[in-house]
Symmetry: C2
Subunit: 765 residues, 2 copies
């Protein structure tokens, strides 16, 4: 029987208290001593062959009879009013089945006081009209027949400009979200802290707008079956899309089905419903035919969400002995016209170090840019860059080794609430990483010559504790195979693989005998968003609980048939063993005796620990080579040592770490969505001009997870691993660049022009 | 926790003892006094609008990218050996992707010692080769390029010919299945019974091969997703197809998914796997593309299964006072080359009347005809025609009213095992039917003139008790709606509608807030075949059990939130009421407080009663008009009164009764697959020459179900209704024809030529 718990769930750096319905669930966690056969071993990704051979059905591969194709007309201006729109010609074009725009669309509220199709366009790329046609070429042709007269409005794209009195107002409530100091966190008294410090440093850091650039752009196919909507969607949250689409269209929850079997990346920009899902659903309703809507690369860049640019004013006070006395941050996040709020840029400042006096003010600013959305470790990645750059600077200023400086300020308990961690092995991560990279024997930087090598390091803290609600069902078939059903999704991380291992482990089955069904809100029960590094720590315990129930039922059945006590029985490798008898019996031999039958186990994630804080930790160490003549930075090696609790699958975990470091390298050195302030238009809304790392930019990565189970966070001992690896990469690289050159770039990305300008200014060269 | 039970399940007239895993399930049955709000009321069929507007996706409507079309080449001979086959030209034709025939197909065993593609062809229409091509025209063209040299073999198509010594042998084991007397049932001593009888009658009856003629022919689409097979299939048993296909292809059960959302009729011929599913799966594997295979009308007629023709030698002994002393049947079923066995033609003889001495011998004979399969009430329909024709004849011979004669021999208990019935209201059915048709005041038949009216009646007995295994899951959504998931299917009877009523009743929800998902082995748990009239009595209790578990969880949750005792709470019309407080709270208001959550209830069908026999009963009364000049028989009225236990939905139940009577009318008067004995070929393998009733042939039907809950058979009080209505129609009509004309036709269908021949022979005309 289920019960209600009040539990804390960490999501994107924020701890939220929530009520959840969980089942009674007293499963002994898999501890350090638990002998596991399958969990902890590498298995290649389920469906991996389909993915790399092009056989996997992504949303864009869905083809339905009579399906129409939708194209979107987007605003060419950063701020404008639609004076008139004439879509008669487009509508009457042969092969065009429907046109939607503000003149004929239902008045669906979208953001505050704005509408799905609004007369006011607040950024370059905002949706003006949508056409559904027999093919994409016809739809494109029809778009060119829509005549729009725009009344251009003054605009602002820079956050600090938008904060000024008299700035262009994007929304009636003004540009500053919340109060003028935004979201404030305070502990101790920073003024007193700075007063007691021997050294006070103040710096300004900037991080760019970065585009997620998922291999698969946002895409959906909407089909109505009677009064029910079926939506194939590339999403990080099958059930969230179900809930949001139902709410937006006024449908009951059981009349919306969302399917998302293969997803080509999300990184945060596919967490919630976008306009495209609603537009496709409306057009499908109007035409009585299925409608596919895929965003173009340009639309993805302009309207698909970005990591918000930040400006960080960071001040730190430290005693001569290296004790941090005060930290103060004022961060300004440019969230565009429709971003929901700034992310937790202050997170690392608040919680990484044992600092008694902390003040963070997180300000979010509306501008005439596309919406900011979450992007892998939102806030923490940006904030960690500022904090760990400054820590490096202070350590060097005090003449303390940067690693030693961090250990000096190590937080044994959560500095925010004083509670213990469910587990924390950051010290071990520091030492292991230092050993891998050769930190002690590093040359010491700023060596002469054109190509200069340097070493840098940075820390990571992040959530990853997961939590309820998360549900799973495990069914046993008559041939001794199992089906696991959940409504979760795989955004590319190997959800199916990991859940099949957990189920097989708990069932005592072979991993190949377990099949995991995900990505269908009709088939699987509720599962949370795949974000906040919480898929595995949320779904894993739910699957384990369901598998345990199924195993118990199986053993009772076997005991009945074999005429022994269930307590004498166990399952291993798909065979049932009795302590009393020598002979093993295959599971299928037992279940096969009953003809058609099915054992059904269900499980729910239990509550999070009430008296412990669940965090992931880690450290990355980078060795770089800087060509001081060209400004080229080559990242040679990255050693990554993270504490994710138990490692379920070293192979898929390693992929996560590598992907994070590659993406972090891009953030450090090249990624930046550039908007021209005078015109308010994006200059690199494509993958030619927006640079992402290629194979040649990828450093040699040595990843070494700590792999100590967290016996408090949940029953599987694993914390999340999706976001942590991206967090420390950029500051580690920036610190290594300083080590190599003596130049500290406080505005990412560290591009050739920035470096060369500093080199030119610097007499040392 | 589940437990194993040994339970009896009735299937196609046969009682099988089986083991099943059921959950502890002590639900008080809905009895006569239980006030029900939703169960018992008419609701139009869920998805009915989609069906009649052509929006429903039947298997033939499934379109997949890159899908190929398969056509089958079939044997032109009733018995032949393939001497040689040349398919090189066909294979190299542009657009042809694969050809399968005995020369290159894997050696999959199909029936006894035969193969999927066999060198020996045992009936006209047997599969010779299959082509997968880009479209159907290319596939047809390719078939015409396959050159086959046949060595024709002697053949036999008549059962009594095939029984003779020296007859052509279809299989090595001979043509007679089982011993020479087939399946024998004996109680008492018929020889002694006949000796004590005052009147002994012996007759020979014949029933034809009837074709199911589902609106939707057999059709499937096979697609491989990696090592998993997805099969869209028009089937009566989603899980059975999963199991059989997996076994045939050597796949684990969790690597086969069967989908069957809308089905255009089954009537018994879509219960098990056919060659077409395996051929499509093999071709899809060979080509790496999805393959659709739909049988043509001609293939449907030749190879899709038929009701086996029967010859029945029936002998009855009766005392002058009307007491049945002995019944003896020797039935011969022509099951074609690959029919599995004869059906229960002796069933009605064994169990309808309280007769102390009974002997039935059911013989099944292989011939060179297409396979016989189950067809709505297999055996019972044929046997009832013979038995009830003879009862009419005897009653008239004794000068007893036929209805009175039946009541004289009424079985209060099961005559086979002496146990009580879970419920039996056949006597009420007799009286109600007689009253509706005006039996007492009927003119008395054989009136003069060209158009002669007559009245006839017949009884029905059949299973319909259902049983385990049957599983369901009920999920409650945060907005107060519910999802029911089961792996069952709707062969056209309204499964979704009825299950949504049962779930809504038990949950206390509105019926429109409950959505039922069926027809997908991945989404829903195991459900039995939709045959044997057992979908509702099997699935209904499983759904009720799952809904009850969900409701209990909901009330516990509400009690927790409202701070009252759960025992004070109830749900009605989607509102939670407390006995202690006046205010009602909508379910969604409670569930909505918890954010994302899901209550999951699961339920399994409990065991059948061990000490009672579950049967459906009924009687039909027909009024006909016979034109003795043309031989035309017009069925004017049929009164149908059946005891199905509780009526869940009068509307959908009424449709079942009407459909049964229409199909029964066809069987009585026109349906017959005609095979020419000298050539062994079918003469009417199409819907032009094979006659089925049209709207003009449908009588006025007055259906009046008894509607008394069976409080013993299961927790919902309902028995099955799929097959019973077809059983008594033909004998009622035949008896009415006799009443009108004095002519008794003992060979169905009662066609003009048979009637006119008798009329010509009969001096009375």
């Amino acid at each position: 029987m289920p019960r209600i718990v009040r539990t804390k769930v960490e999501f994107e750096g924020e701890v939220r208290e929530r009520m959840a319905v969980v089942e009674e669930d007293h499963i002994t966690p898999w501890g350090s001593g638990t002998p596991l056969r399958i969990v902890g071993r590498s298995y290649p990704r389920t469906g991996g062959v389909e993915v790399v051979t092009g056989k996997a059905t992504y949303t864009a591969d869905v083809q339905l009879p009579g399906m129409l194709y939708c194209r979107i007309m987007r605003s060419p201006h950063p701020h404008a009013e639609i004076a008139s729109i004439d879509y008669v010609k487009a509508e009457s074009m042969s092969g065009v089945r429907a046109v939607l725009c503000h003149a004929n669309a239902p008045g669906i509220r979208w953001f505050g006081d704005s509408l799905l199709f609004d007369r006011i366009l607040r950024y370059e790329g905002e949706e003006v009209a949508a056409v559904a046609a027999d093919d994409e070429e016809i739809a494109d042709g029809a778009l060119s027949l829509i005549r729009v007269r725009y009344r251009e409005l003054p605009f602002v794209v820079e956050a600090e400009e938008a904060m000024k009195p008299g700035a262009v107002q994007i929304h009636p409530g003004g540009n500053i979200v919340g109060g003028p100091d935004g979201e404030v966190y305070r502990r101790g008294n920073v003024r007193e802290g700075f007063a007691k410090a021997d050294l006070v440093v103040e710096e300004r850091y900037e991080t760019p707008a970065a585009v997620h650039n998922c291999l698969e752009p946002h895409c959906c196919v909407a089909m109505w079956a009677g009064d029910e909507l079926v939506l194939w969607d590339s999403t990080q949250h099958v059930y969230g899309i179900r809930n949001e689409v139902a709410a937006t269209l006024g449908l009951p929850l059981n009349k919306v089905r969302v399917i998302s079997e293969f997803i080509g990346g999300g990184f945060g920009c596919k967490q919630g419903v976008g306009k495209h899902e609603i537009i496709a659903a409306l057009l499908a309703k109007m035409t009585g035919r299925p409608v596919k809507l895929a965003l173009s690369r340009r639309a993805e860049n302009l309207a698909g969400g970005v990591r918000h640019p930040t400006i960080q004013y960071l001040k730190a006070g430290v005693r001569r002995d290296g004790t941090l006395m005060a930290l103060q941050l004022r961060s300004i996040a440019n969230i565009g016209a429709y971003g929901m709020g700034g992310s937790e840029v202050g997170g690392p400042i608040r919680e990484l170090y044992r600092c008694p006096n902390v003040l963070t003010e997180q300000i979010a600013i509306h501008t005439n840019l596309g919406p900011a959305t979450a992007f892998r470790a939102p806030g923490y990645m940006e904030g960690m860059y500022g904090l760990e750059s400054m820590m490096d600077q202070i350590a060097r200023g005090l003449g303390i080794d940067p690693l030693q400086f961090r250990l000096l300020n190590y937080a044994e308990k959560d500095p925010m609430r004083g509670v213990s961690y469910s587990s924390k092995h950051l010290d071990k991560a520091y030492r292991t990483g230092a050993s891998i990279i050769g930190w002690e024997s590093r040359p010491g930087g700023q060596n002469a010559g054109a190509r200069r090598r340097g070493f840098g390091m940075a820390s990571q803290v992040w959530g990853g504790g997961g939590g309820p609600p998360a549900y799973a069902i495990v069914r046993l078939n008559a041939d001794g195979t199992a089906d696991v059903l959940t409504g979760t999704q795989d955004i590319g991380t190997g959800t199916k693989t990991v859940l099949s291992q957990i189920a097989a482990e708990e069932l005592g089955f072979k991993v190949e005998d377990v099949r995991v069904t995900i990505g269908d809100s009709r088939a699987g029960p509720y599962a949370p968003v795949s974000a906040g590094s919480m898929t595995v720590p949320s779904m894993g315990p739910a699957v384990r609980a369901a598998a345990r129930s199924a195993r118990e039922q199986l053993l009772n059945l076997a005991a009945d048939l074999l005429r022994v006590l269930a307590t004498e029985l166990s399952v291993k490798e798909g065979k049932i063993k009795s302590t009393a008898r020598p002979r093993e019996v295959a599971v299928g031999e037992i279940t096969g005796r009953i003809g058609d039958f099915m054992i059904i186990g269900q499980g729910a994630r239990g509550p999070n620990p009430s008296d412990a804080k669940v965090r992931t930790f880690g450290a990355q160490f980078a060795e770089v080579e800087v060509d001081v003549e060209t400004g080229d930075v080559t990242v040679l090696r990255v050693a990554a040592v993270h504490d994710f609790g138990r490692v379920i699958n070293p192979l898929t975990l390693g992929n996560q770490v590598e992907g994070g470091i590659v993406q972090g390298t891009g953030f450090a050195l090249m990624e930046e969505r550039i908007v021209d302030s005078p015109t308010g238009k994006a200059l690199n809304a494509n993958l030619e001009a927006y640079k992402v790392p290629t194979m040649l930019d990828v450093p040699s990565i040595e990843s070494h997870p700590i792999d100590l189970p967290d016996e408090i966070c949940n029953s599987i001992g694993a914390k999340g691993a999706g976001e942590p690896p991206i967090i420390p990469t950029a500051p580690a690289i920036a610190n290594a660049v300083f080590d190599a050159t003596g130049i500290r770039i406080r505005s990412l990305p560290i591009t050739r022009d920035k470096l060369l300008e500093e080199i030119r200014r610097n007499a040392a060269f």
